[in-house]
Structure formats: structure tokens, C-alpha cells
């Protein structure tokens, strides 16, 4: 029915995808409609027959879940971008020698570790530093990265473990420390076209998203290039 391409994307990619959409629309004239919501909603909606053409998520589990249900073809799943996991603090905070202290001395915000990818990575990172057990009681879990970020920006917590991209958009905070990539699973955003046959207009947009222009925009937003093989 709709001639526009309907994209299901995670709320955490709102800004960059809106920019990409605007750019692509004026270039190609094709219209793109993006529905931003929690990945778990979007995946289940696909299962209920949602007319989405593209499904983007930071959570491989949901991708596979969708694949199991033949909502998407396993082989069509491609990495779209990568990200970094950082410790963010409010701008006025001076350089802080004792990173570990942040997680044991006061409340810090992170996403819910059992269900939200960002939270899962954060837990891995802390476990890697052998801090998780000590830090856990100080952790404030948010349902998504943005609430986590706002809580930090308002100073409800002294620090937050978020994606590098998030730290970049929120002007009131800066990233203090980047967790070494090997201290947690690779952070990857996955993209997949839905359905059996992929219409031309969709492939076109996918190509654009994987193209250099898009890459530049991703980069300027703080995303890293996708690791070429999945995790």
C-alpha cells in the first residue's frame, strides 16, 4: 500500500537515522518512514505481520529470533555500524584518575544488564575489570540508554556507562573513558530486509546505508565502522 520504505529502528539510533533519512530523501526522492521503538516491540510487531521493509537492531538475539520465525532471511542480516562503550560524566567533572571508584563510591547509571544490549556490554566490561559484584549495588538500571543519559545530565548520578554515540549527542556530558573493545562483546547494529522478495527501493536504501556518505555520517555521530564478520 504505502510507497514509502518503512524502517523499524531502535530508539537509540533516532538522531543518526533521521539525518540519514533526510539526506537520502532529498538525494533519491524516495520517501523513508522510520518507526522508532524498543527493539522488543518492533520484533514482536514483525512477527504480527508488521509491514516493515527494514529491521535495524543492536540486539543480535532479536535478529536471530526474527530469523527463526522466517520474518527475515538469516543470510540477509548485515552489520550496519559499530559502537564504543564509554564512561560518561558531566562536563564540569575534572579528569578522574580512579575510574573504578566511579562504580563503587556513588550511584552510576547503566542499561538493564539482562535484557538491554548496552547493559549486557556494560556488565561484561565491569566483570572484565573484576568490579561487577562491588558495583552492582550502586548501579541504576534504565530501560534504554537515553533515560540513562538524562539521569547523568541532570546529575542524579555521577557517571554512566553508555555508548560513545550517546555521550557525543548530549552536550552536558562528555566521555571520560573508553572501555577497551576486548573487554566486552563487539557492539554491532544489525540491519536486515524483511520478507522474501526485496523490492528495488529497499535495496537502494540499504546500499545507501552501507555506502560512504552514510559511513561519514555514522562516523561523525561517533559510530565505528562495523566489524566485517558478526560476533
Amino acid at each position: 500500500a504505502r510507497d514509502a520504505v518503512l524502517v523499524f529502528a531502535p530508539a537509540s539510533m533516532t538522531d543518526v537515522l533521521n539525518d540519514l533519512r533526510d539526506l537520502y530523501q532529498q538525494k533519491s526522492g524516495n520517501s523513508i518512514v522510520i518507526s522508532f521503538a524498543g527493539t522488543q516491540h518492533l520484533a514482536r510487531q514483525l512477527d504480527a505481520g508488521a509491514p516493515a521493509d527494514l529491521f535495524i537492531t543492536a540486539d543480535r538475539d532479536w535478529m536471530d529470533w526474527a530469523a527463526e520465525r522466517d520474518l527475515i532471511k538469516q543470510q540477509r542480516i548485515v552489520p550496519l555500524a559499530g559502537n564504543r562503550l564509554v564512561v560518561a560524566v558531566r562536563n564540569e567533572v575534572e579528569n578522574w584518575a580512579d575510574i573504578d571508584g566511579l562504580f563503587t563510591q556513588d550511584y552510576f547509571a547503566m542499561a538493564e544488564p539482562d535484557s538491554v544490549p548496552a547493559g549486557r556490554y556494560a556488565r561484561q566490561a565491569l566483570q572484565h575489570r573484576g568490579l561487577w559484584q562491588k558495583a552492582k549495588p550502586r548501579a541504576v538500571f534504565g530501560d534504554n540508554v537515553r533515560t540513562t543519559l538524562r539521569r547523568l545530565a541532570r546529575g542524579e548520578v555521577t557517571s554512566a556507562i553508555v555508548y560513545g554515540t550517546d555521550a557525543a549527542i548530549e552536550s552536558r556530558v562528555r566521555s571520560l573513558f573508553v572501555f577497551p573493545p576486548d573487554s566486552h562483546d563487539a557492539i554491532t547494529y544489525w540491519l536486515a530486509a524483511t520478507g522474501d522478495a526485496v523490492p528495488e527501493k529497499v535495496t537502494a536504501f540499504i546500499q545507501f546505508l552501507n555506502g560512504p556518505e552514510a559511513g561519514a555520517i555514522f562516523a561523525s555521530a561517533g559510530f565505528t565502522p562495523p566489524p566485517q564478520k558478526g560476533d
Binding site: L6, F8, A11, S12, T14, D15, V33, I34, S35, F36, A37, H41, L42, R44, Q45, D47, A48, G49, A50, P51, N144, R146, L149, A153, I169, E170, S171
Partner: protein, 230 residues
Amino acid sequence: MSSLADPAIWGIVLLSLQVSCMAMIVALPLAIIVGKVLAGPGFFGKAFLSALVHLPLVLPPVVTGYALLVLFGRRGWIGSMLDQIGIGFTFSWTGAALAAGIMAFPLIVRPIRLAFESQDARLNEMAATLGASRAKRFFKVALPLAWPGIIAGLVLGFAKALGEFGATITFVSNIPGETQTLSLAIYTLLQSPRGDSAALTLIVLSVILSFAAILASEWMANSNRRRLER
């Protein structure tokens, strides 16, 4: 989209109104019936129905949303049947209305039930002695006397429908121009620090909307009271 000049904003406002009004139009008659039944005699059957009506309030909206998805989704029990005859709730504004209506339902029923319960039984008896059938008694006596309760239910329900978020985004997703109501738009904008000012505009708009609605209702209630005092 932060300026009121932006047509997108007005699209969103209109959509929200369309959704909320549709929800009320469908839910109200049902709510009146249920309210009347619940005001009647009986205990267990009543308590059960009552609990059922309250469920959307007790469950996290997400759950109600998923339930709707399972029932009314294209592959859902009911949804698939409706699909045959060309009625689709999924990912369309009608779906948003359905979600809003169901979430608002308990709020509409309660005050109406209360209004029926507090009616003087002697008026019903009087009407019967005057030869009025059940139907006439309901439409000429019980219903008009329940007017304040109906208004109260409508106000709560409409406000809820305007503000509904969880069930809606879960059931019909967040598709601009199709299912993105005020609440959903505000949520989306709040996802990025850039969106704050635009979000504020929308928040102010929905506050204005609700104030308008409440004022209208207070006015209706007032004029009704005045009518009785003529």
C-alpha cells in the same frame, strides 16, 4: 519540527484527536451497558466482570499491547478473521484507537457505574407504576439521571486516550503520519537531546488540549446542573 508553523505538528494533533474521539465513540455505549450491569445485583459474576474490566489498568501497558498484537495482529485469532473482510487494526490509526479505547475503558465504566448505583430506586418503581417498560425506564429515567457520571467517565477516558503510550506503541508501533500520536511523538523527540524544544512544544499542545477538554466538560456538567434548577 519545533515550530507551530510546521504542518507535521498539526497532523499529529489531529491524529491524536481522531484516535481519542473514535475510541470514545466506540467505548462509551459499551461502557454504559457494562456500568449498568455492574450496578445491578449479583456478586461473583459481577466481581469477575469488574475485575476483567480493570485488567488493562493493572497490567503494564506493554502486556496489554502484546495481547492486542496476539489477538488482532494480522496473524492473530481475531485479526486474521477481520483481515478476510478487509478490516485491519494493525499499524493503522484504527488500531491506535482500539488500544486507547481498551486502556481507557475501566476509567469510563467506573464513574458511570457509580452514577447508576447511587440512583434512588423509588424513581424506577414510580416509572414502572406509570407503565414504563424496562427500556423506557432506562432511557427516560436511569440514563438521563446518570449524566454526571457519563461526563466524568468521558473526561477520564478521553484524557487517558490522549495520553496513552505503552499499549499503543507496542500494538501499532510508532509510524509517523499513521500511528504516531502526540504521546508517541513526544516520546520519540525525547529520545534525543536535540528534540527537547520540539518535545516541549508538543507537551504544551497536549496540555492545552486537555485543559480545553476539561473546561468543556465542566461547562457541560454546569449547564446540566442549571437545567435541573430551572
